[in-house]
Each structure stands twice: as structure tokens, then as C-alpha cells.
């Protein structure tokens, strides 16, 4: 028998967008192709979903 709570799972649309930033090992943060920190682009961060509460729940249980 399947655990009760799992009757309430739903497929989640996984994000298909590839984020244009990469980790800069010397500055220790993610940067855009133009060298600016990813955090300087608010719209991009909101779109990335990596700062939202459901994003964390994918990999972490305490979001």
C-alpha cells in the first residue's frame, strides 16, 4: 500500500530555462556573462526560481 500522504503528490513542471550565470571561484559568487554578479539582476533571480520557497523544497526539507 502506498503511504497516505503520497496520494497528494503532483507532477511539478521542472524549470527548463538554463540560467546564464556561472560560479566565479575567486569572487565566490555567481556571475553573468558580462562579469556582473548574478544578484545584481533582480528580474533574473525572480525568474530563476532559485530564491523561492518551492525551489528549496526540491532538495531540502526545511524551506
Amino acid at each position: 500500500m502506498r503511504p497516505f500522504t503520497l496520494n497528494y503528490t503532483l507532477p511539478k513542471g521542472l524549470p527548463t530555462v538554463v540560467m546564464p550565470y556561472r560560479f566565479d571561484t575567486s569572487r565566490q559568487l555567481n556571475v553573468l556573462p558580462n562579469g556582473r554578479p548574478a544578484v545584481s539582476d533582480r528580474d533574473l533571480l525572480l525568474a530563476a526560481g532559485t530564491t523561492t520557497s518551492t525551489a528549496g523544497s526540491q532538495t531540502h526539507f526545511d524551506d
Binding site: T50, S53, D63
Partner: protein, 318 residues
């Protein structure tokens, strides 16, 4: 004196804090325990009654004696990126890394021991009650009959998971779902159910506590809406003041739980009462800061920055 941030490379929320620390010239080392051993290197030597050691990654070096604070943000499992990962290697690496860090005299956001306890949802409800919050009637059970009775008593009940969606399947979501007494509860015997009285809510509240600073945000709910995280609405997060009573209870809660950082979820009902739903010790704040402009990353950076070690703030009992 260096701030150690344990998190993955792709964690852009940590970037928000790293860039604040850069602005104030405070040395940072960002390390993902998943990169140890490999990209990251650790040595700690026990001599003269204390550990002296170094951590290094990507050309950055941290001396254990120069450790200012540790922020456990979103770390990978130790050794997860190793050439031959295994549960044993994870355990060995965890011992080496966390064993050494626990021996250092430093402040933690949050101390792993307190974090582990704070993740337990039944415990959260108890501490919330002790702190003076309104807590909805809740049951955890593996007995179908108990689940049935609870739902008959409260009529509208939500199901949620205590630990989040299944972690081995990232394509599955587990939204909090409304159910009624006509539900078939037989499968409760196959896995514990967490049921809670449904709170008809006007708004979701997210309150982020950083040290003693509070940032409350509110998002209006659609009529009848259950899980605010799924399904887009017109509404966005807006900064609101935290009522004084709530502030007192928050301080009480984080003191009892020994947390330097905590993100509280409340449901605001039609009478304006904030019902405690949960307290996430590692809760995400990026979306709140981006939408409300509340300076949470700055508060985190400030908390991590003091030079002098004050163990009391970690709530540790040695």
C-alpha cells in the same frame, strides 16, 4: 577573521550575503561539504588540547583559529562530489569536517545540533505553544481510525508532509491539500499522516528572524486558497510590521530552540490571528527580499560579522 559559508555553488541566495560581506571587506570562505575530499582540502591537528587546522578550496584558505562564524546555508552532503561517493565516505568526511568545526570556538547560524531538532515538526508545534503562538489542532498518526475521527471532528483538514516531498524524485511536488471526512484513510497504516485543521486564511505570513531582527511579510490569499506556493495569483509579498505579541513569541521560540536564524510561516485568519504553521530553521529568504526590499541578506551578513565570539547567541549548551 573569516566567515565560513557552507553551501552549494548554485545557491544565489548565499550570493546576496557574500556580496554584502565583500562590500564591508570581511573575509569569506564559501565551501560545499560535497566538494570534500577533492576540490576542498581539510587538515586539523589535535595538539596541546586544541585543534589547529586549515580548510582550503579554490585557492581560498581558512585557518580554524581565524574562524569568525559559520553560516550553514544549503550545504551538500559531505563527499557527495567525491570520485567514489558512498555512505561510509560521507560519514567519515562529516566526522572530519563537522567534528573539527564543532570544536572551534565560533558562532553558528544555526548550530547543526539545534538545526536538527528544529526540523522536527511535532516538536515545533510544542515549542510554538510554549512560546505563546496560536497553533491549529494537529495529528500525526499511522492509525486510519484516528485520522478519520480527527477529520470528522474538524471537518476541513489539510494533509501535508512532515519532511517535504520525496527527495529521490525532484519532479514530484507535495502541496498542502484540503480533505474532508469522506476521504479513504486506509493508507494511513502504510505511512504516518500529518493532518491539521484548515485555517480559512486572508493571507500567508512569512516572518524571517535574524538574530533579534524581525522581517515580516504578507501575501494576500485568494478566497479558499490552500497552498500559497502553487498557482500564481495577482498578489505579491509586502512588508508588514510584526505585531508586538508575535515579536515576543518569536524571540521566545528562537531562544528555546537555540536558533540564530528562523523563517516562520503563519496563516492569517479572518479575525487577523496569525496561526503558527511551521518554523523553517533554514528557510529561504531570497524571494522575500527581492519582492519586499527588506534587507535580510544585510542582517545575515551583520550577524555573521562580529569579531568577538559570543557563544551564548548560538543557544548552545556545552
Amino acid at each position: 577573521m573569516t566567515v565560513l559559508i557552507l553551501t552549494s555553488e548554485e545557491d544565489v541566495t548565499a550570493d546576496m550575503v557574500v556580496s554584502r560581506l565583500h562590500e564591508t571587506g570581511i573575509p569569506v570562505m564559501r565551501l560545499d561539504p560535497a566538494d570534500l575530499p577533492g576540490k576542498a582540502v581539510l587538515s586539523a591537528e589535535y595538539a596541546h588540547g586544541d585543534f589547529d587546522g586549515h580548510l582550503s578550496v579554490n585557492g581560498h584558505v581558512l585557518s580554524m583559529r581565524g574562524l569568525r562564524s559559520v553560516w550553514v546555508r544549503r550545504p551538500g552532503e559531505p563527499a557527495a562530489h567525491a570520485a567514489h561517493p558512498s555512505p561510509w565516505l560521507t560519514a567519515e568526511t562529516g566526522q572530519a569536517l563537522f567534528g573539527t568545526l564543532h570544536s572551534a570556538s565560533t558562532r553558528w547560524m544555526n548550530h547543526p545540533r539545534n538545526a536538527e531538532q528544529a526540523r522536527l515538526k511535532p516538536w515545533q508545534l510544542r515549542v510554538a505553544h510554549l512560546s505563546g503562538f496560536a497553533v491549529p489542532p494537529t495529528v500525526f498518526t499511522t492509525a486510519p481510525r484516528v485520522a478519520q475521527q480527527f477529520t470528522e471532528e474538524h471537518r476541513s483538514v489539510v494533509v501535508k508532509s512532515a519532511s517535504g516531498p520525496p527527495r529521490d524524485d525532484p519532479a514530484l511536488a507535495l502541496p498542502t491539500t484540503l480533505i474532508g471526512p469522506d476521504t479513504d484513510f486506509s493508507a494511513v497504516a502504510a505511512g504516518p499522516a500529518l493532518l491539521q485543521r484548515y485555517i480559512p486564511k486572508r493571507a500567508d505570513i512569512r516572518l524571517t528572524c535574524v538574530g533579534d531582527r524581525l522581517f515580516a511579510a504578507r501575501k494576500t490569499a485568494e478566497p479558499g486558497q490552500v497552498d500559497g506556493r502553487y498557482g500564481d495569483t495577482e498578489h505579491t509579498w509586502e512588508a508588514v510590521p510584526a505585531p508586538e505579541r508575535i515579536g515576543k513569541s518569536v524571540h521566545e521560540y528562537v531562544a528555546l530552540a537555540g536558533l540564530a536564524y528562523a523563517a516562520f510561516d503563519f496563516a492569517e485568519d479572518e479575525d487577523g490571528i496569525w496561526w503558527f504553521l511551521e518554523c523553517n530553521q533554514g528557510g529561504q529568504f531570497g524571494f522575500v527580499e527581492l519582492e519586499t526590499g527588506q534587507p535580510i541578506s544585510e542582517a545575515v551578513a551583520r550577524w555573521l560579522s562580529p569579531r568577538k565570539t559570543d557563544r551564548r547567541v548560538t543557544g548552545s549548551h556545552w
